[in-house]
């Protein structure tokens, strides 16, 4: 009788990383669907190019390093899709592909692969494109327009011409913006699914929600032109960040308190950047900055063991 000898426990949870990632894909589905509804075939093509960039570079990298393929963990797929969702619809497809490559190689693999990276890979890709192609990354189109009528985003309208977009449009998503950022409804549906299924922890989103609400609320009380709480929550990349970026396990703190604080400071930073920086939007930089603080937050929020 040949018996397997290994250390306890001898029972483990059914789920694994591939299952978690597939659940994230299900959570992303409403967002992807909304982007296709609003930006039609452009959304489909851009998502595919980012996806190809991410998946191909992941596979090539692993082959070059003679390691087993890591496509089955679906993390490259998620990175590719998330990247597409934070890019403008009119972006040339080759730029999207390049973004996918950068996300995987610079955002993840150079750190040592899945779980080792410090910054959110999709946002690293976007930050790179932002630096390399600033004009392309800030040219937006009206939803439903196949001939690509240029249109400013609600945040740009607010920042540069003090013009407010109706909340209803921000909520449903028929406004200019990145592929997956326009429809608050779709993001809340998908993000809500992730939280209900306990794929994403609710503490980081709650922290970000509170951070943004508190600061934008104060600014609004001082001067209503600062934009209402709901305006800030529903415009730009706030909700996508709240549900799909600050909930990334790898680049955020490991303790419950740490995750909450991470989200809270992200929320503060978003409002500060929107109000005081030269750019209308600040979600990407807020999250990347806080990613850098994750090790520090981990150290400061080390839980106290029972009996110490």
């Amino acid at each position: 009788m040949k018996l397997i000898v290994e250390v306890s426990p001898h029972k483990k949870a059914d789920y694994g990383i591939p299952w978690l990632m597939k659940e994230v894909l299900i959570g992303l589905a409403p967002v992807i669907l909304a982007s296709i509804i609003f930006f039609r075939i452009r959304a489909v093509f851009l998502i595919i190019s980012c996806l190809l960039g991410a998946v191909i570079s992941e596979e090539v990298w692993m082959r070059l390093r003679k390691k087993p393929s890591s496509l089955r963990d679906y993390s490259a797929v998620i990175t590719g899709i998330l990247l597409a969702l934070v890019l403008p619809p009119k972006l040339p497809l080759w730029v999207g592909f390049l973004g996918g490559v950068i996300s995987i190689i610079l955002g993840k693999q150079v750190f040592g692969g899945l779980g080792q990276n410090i910054f959110n890979p999709a946002l690293v890709g976007r930050a790179f494109l932002m630096a390399a192609f600033p004009v392309m990354l800030t040219s937006w189109v009206e939803p439903f327009s196949l001939d690509a009528v240029t249109k400013a985003t609600p945040l740009a309208l607010w920042k540069f011409s003090k013009e407010f977009t109706p909340l209803k449009d921000l909520f449903l998503g028929n406004v200019a913006g990145s592929l997956g950022e326009t429809s608050s409804l779709a993001i809340i549906l998908g993000g809500g699914y992730l939280i209900m299924r306990k794929i994403a922890d609710w503490r980081a989103p709650l922290g970000m929600f509170l951070g943004m609400s508190i600061l934008s609320g104060i600014f609004y009380l001082v001067n209503p032109l600062g934009g209402s709480i709901l305006f800030h929550l529903f415009s730009g990349g706030a909700l996508l960040g709240m549900f799909f970026m600050v909930t990334d396990p790898v680049t955020t703190p490991v303790s419950k308190l740490g995750r909450f604080l991470f989200g809270l400071f992200c929320g503060f930073l978003v409002i500060i950047l929107r109000k005081f920086s030269g750019l209308p939007e600040g979600v990407m930089y807020s999250i990347l900055i806080m990613n850098g603080f994750t090790p520090l937050i981990n150290r400061l929020t080390k839980p106290r063991p029972l009996g110490r």
Binding site: K11, P253, G307
Partner: protein, 436 residues
């Protein structure tokens, strides 16, 4: 809080059966503490219940012959916990008396009038140790160095599959209560909690109905029904849940005025005090998908697993691929069936492919599930990182010594990292570094 599929049926509902072995292999060490002093030699005839080795120091335990017969050998043998250890091998007489004949029977009045010191020495001489897992000598726990005000009787049995404590609570409710009475008297506590999980409501009912008769000198006893989760039965966690007292790191329950005893231990105390019966047998759960019929057996200490299989007391419907002494969360996987049941063996599981998770370990994604679940509030993922890098001294800064190795972290890990493996390796390395 971790919820694991219970897998306690159908063995949960079967009456405990008795099994008498033809041969027993009795390790000298079945407890936490120093080795007892051997009193027999090869070829000696021993009677059932006769002492084989006596406690050698303050923390030690006696062992007794669990069959009548002849000492065949004293040698090194497989040991489920220590891997290899010294044992006494006794082959049973052909017509060995099936039952233990008490040399002495005490009535309730008699027990009530006994001094604590007398009771403790009876318990000590009977080789009673904690049957919940660690095997800490019971008489030591009953002579605390500090004032104790709370006795917690642990009937949680939070490990999946295991039902030995449940069966004992159902079949011997009164005896357990009499054992608790003795312990409460020795410790002079003013509060007794009997902690049972809500998946064992039948046991709760029985305890409550017996307590209502007011027959027992346990005015402050209370059956506490706890929502089942793992690791409910872990000592420090149980104390915290019931009393909100935190056992200090490296400390003992005494330090917060508590003593925790497993229900099985209470039963053994009862047998020791009322019948002078040493700890020669216990209930063991046999379960797992390889078994034709899972069951609970009242089994003599030292019975070798192989004999149970050869005599078809345990029948396989499938070849087992993993054999575990203990529960699936903290039990020890063995490499053969040539191992004896010892005092702390609560169950033996025979698992086949369908129960096993052989997925390979992948990178940690720092999701923090291990941190959220850790009942000691530790950072299990950090242990893995530090052990992989060989940063041994940093392990202390993350309080690796506080880890109770309950396995919750490894259970919830989506990357299938064998965290307990890394933690054990880290602890061992630290121990060896401290020695040099």
């Amino acid at each position: 809080m971790l919820r694991i599929e219970e897998e306690k049926g159908p063995q949960k509902n079967f009456y405990t059966q008795k099994v008498l072995p033809q041969k027993v292999v009795i390790p000298l060490s079945q407890h936490t503490g120093s080795l007892p002093k051997l009193l027999v030699k090869v070829k000696d005839k021993v009677k059932l219940g006769e002492i084989l080795a006596e406690p050698s120091s303050f923390i030690s335990s006696a062992i007794h012959a669990s069959v009548s017969g002849e000492v065949k050998d004293i040698r090194i043998y497989n040991h489920p916990v220590l891997k290899k250890a010294k044992v006494v091998i006794i082959s049973a007489e052909k017509n060995s008396s099936e039952r233990f004949e008490p040399p002495y029977i005490r009535g309730e009045e008699q027990v009530k009038n006994m001094e604590s010191s007398e009771l403790i020495s009876l318990i000590r001489n009977s080789g009673v140790v904690g049957l919940g897992g660690a095997g800490f000598p019971t008489y030591v726990k009953l002579s605390p160095s500090k004032k104790v005000d709370t006795l917690i009787v642990n009937g949680c049995e939070c490990e999946p599959y295991l039902t030995c404590d449940y069966r004992l609570m159902i079949e011997h409710t009164e005896s357990i209560l009499k054992g608790i009475e003795v312990i409460a008297k020795i410790l002079q506590v003013n509060k007794v909690y009997i902690a049972i999980e809500d998946n064992k409501l039948e046991a709760v009912k029985r305890f409550n109905s017996k307590l209502h008769t007011k027959k027992y000198a346990l005015p402050s006893a209370e059956v506490v029904v706890l929502k089942s989760f793992y690791p409910q039965g872990a000592e420090k966690q149980l104390i915290y849940r019931l009393t909100r007292r935190k056992v200090p790191s490296g400390g003992l329950p005494f330090d917060v005025g508590c003593v925790v005893q497993n229900v099985g231990t209470c039963f053994s105390v009862y047998e020791a005090v009322y019948f002078n019966k040493p700890l020669i047998e216990r209930i063991v759960t046999f379960a797992g998908s390889a078994l034709e019929e899972p069951k609970n057996l009242l089994i003599r200490i030292g019975t070798v697993l192989e004999e149970l299989v050869e005599r078809e007391i345990l029948k396989f419907k499938k070849e087992p691929e993993k054999v575990i002494f203990g529960g699936p969360m903290m039990g020890i996987a063995l490499d053969s069936l040539d191992y004896p049941i010892i005092k702390t063996t609560s169950g033996v599981l025979f698992l086949t492919g369908e129960d096993l998770d052989l997925r390979e370990e992948s990178n940690c994604i720092k999701c923090g599930r291990c941190v959220d679940i850790c009942p000691m509030n530790l950072l299990p993922l950090e242990f893995v990182r530090l052990v992989k890098k060989g940063l041994w001294s940093e392990l202390k800064e993350f309080y690796i010594s506080d880890c109770i190795e309950c396995g919750s972290c490894a259970f919830v890990c989506p990357a299938k990292i064998p965290l307990v493996n890394y933690i054990k390796a880290g602890k061992e390395k630290l121990k060896s570094l401290n020695k040099t």
